[in-house]
């Protein structure tokens, strides 16, 4: 690490930035991934139990997905904002 830093500081920084971007987006995608699974799973259960209320369940499901997904998208944008 010290040798690399002495020889080529810019390259090391660029590499670490890329790693950081990957970690930021990957970390941000974990929670929303689980959350969207729960939202959609429960919406499907609701639609299967009460097909006549499928319209309401679908609208609410999209709302829930939108709220959950926002966190992943923050991570996506943050990964772009990080610069070396």
């Amino acid at each position: 690490m010290h040798v690399l830093l002495a020889q080529n500081p810019g390259e090391l920084q660029a590499g670490l930035t890329a790693v950081g971007r990957g970690i930021v987006y990957g970390g941000a995608a974990i929670g929303p991934g689980i959350g969207i699974g729960i939202v959609v799973g429960n919406a499907i259960t609701a639609m299967a139990r009460q097909p006549e209320a499928a319209g309401v369940a679908r609208t609410t499901m999209f709302l829930g997905i939108a709220f959950t997904e926002a966190l992943a998208l923050f991570g996506f944008v943050l990964a772009f904002i990080i610069s070396g």
């Binding site: 997904e69 923050f74 996506f76």
Partner: protein, 252 residues
């Protein structure tokens, strides 16, 4: 100038397009031209639909279906009949966002206008002003802040925790997530399509057979992006309606 997407633009032009004419704040590039096109298309859509024939046909048919959708599936489900006053606003918002998004998958255009932050940010600023204005008008300044910061049904001691979170939600998270959701979805879709298109082209020129799977995926992703375009316009509109509804009738 690579304004038409007839060949691959340089990678730096995927989002940042060069100026075509004008300079400074009046610089016009491909994205600005597309925004004008979107405005013209939405205006044409509404004027063409104004005939008001008793038996609708053509564009009027489509327009009536869209109005019906905004009215029944968005406003009546979230705000109730008092929200019908906001039908024109939400209709314009939906149509404009949808036209801006669908440019992503139209051949030779291939650039979602909403993949630049300016437009989502501006629309979010309008929505932000509207829902705060409505909250103050319907509940009074004091009542609006009371219902915002001290939602009923929470144990007293928890207000130390709940009030700052609610404040951040209303003034920071809601507008930020509304703008970023639209922006990031369109940007991600655009990057995805560009990546797969470049991958397919590169594999096709080197090994013909290797391009089959990415090419098939590219076609599938085009279909997916059409869905995303509609869905993001719908989500932006319905969230606006939810915020307007929340400002008009507080929780009891």
């Amino acid at each position: 100038m690579h304004v038409l997407a007839l060949d691959f633009p340089p990678i730096s032009h995927l989002i940042r397009w060069p100026t075509i004419f004008g300079s400074g704040v009046w610089a016009v590039n491909k994205v600005v031209l597309l925004e004008w096109l979107a405005v013209i298309l939405v205006l044409w859509f509404f004027f063409a639909a104004r005939k008001g024939a008793l038996v609708p046909s053509g564009v009027q048919n489509l327009a009536e279906a869209v109005v019906d959708f905004i009215r029944n599936d968005i406003i009546l489900q979230t705000v109730g009949s008092e929200g019908l006053y906001w039908t024109p606003f939400l209709l314009t918002l939906f149509a404009f966002i949808f036209v801006g998004n669908i440019f992503e998958v139209i051949p030779v255009i291939q650039m979602p206008v909403n993949a630049r932050m300016a437009l989502p940010f501006f629309m979010t600023a309008i929505v932000f002003i509207i829902y705060h204005y409505l909250g103050v008008r319907h509940q009074g300044l004091f009542g609006y802040f009371k219902s915002m910061l001290f939602p009923p049904g929470v144990p007293k001691a928890l207000y130390i925790l709940v009030s700052p979170i609610e404040f951040l939600t209303f003034f920071f998270t809601r507008p930020l997530s509304l703008a970023v959701r639209l922006f990031a979805n369109m940007l991600a879709g655009h990057l995805l399509l560009a990546t797969f298109a470049i991958l397919t082209a590169a594999l096709f020129t080197s090994t013909y057979i290797g391009a089959v799977i990415p090419g098939a995926l590219l076609v599938a992703l085009y279909g997916f992006e059409v869905l995303v375009s509609v869905l993001q316009a719908f989500i932006f509109t319905i969230l606006t309606a939810v915020y307007i509804g929340g400002a008009m009738h507080p929780e009891h």
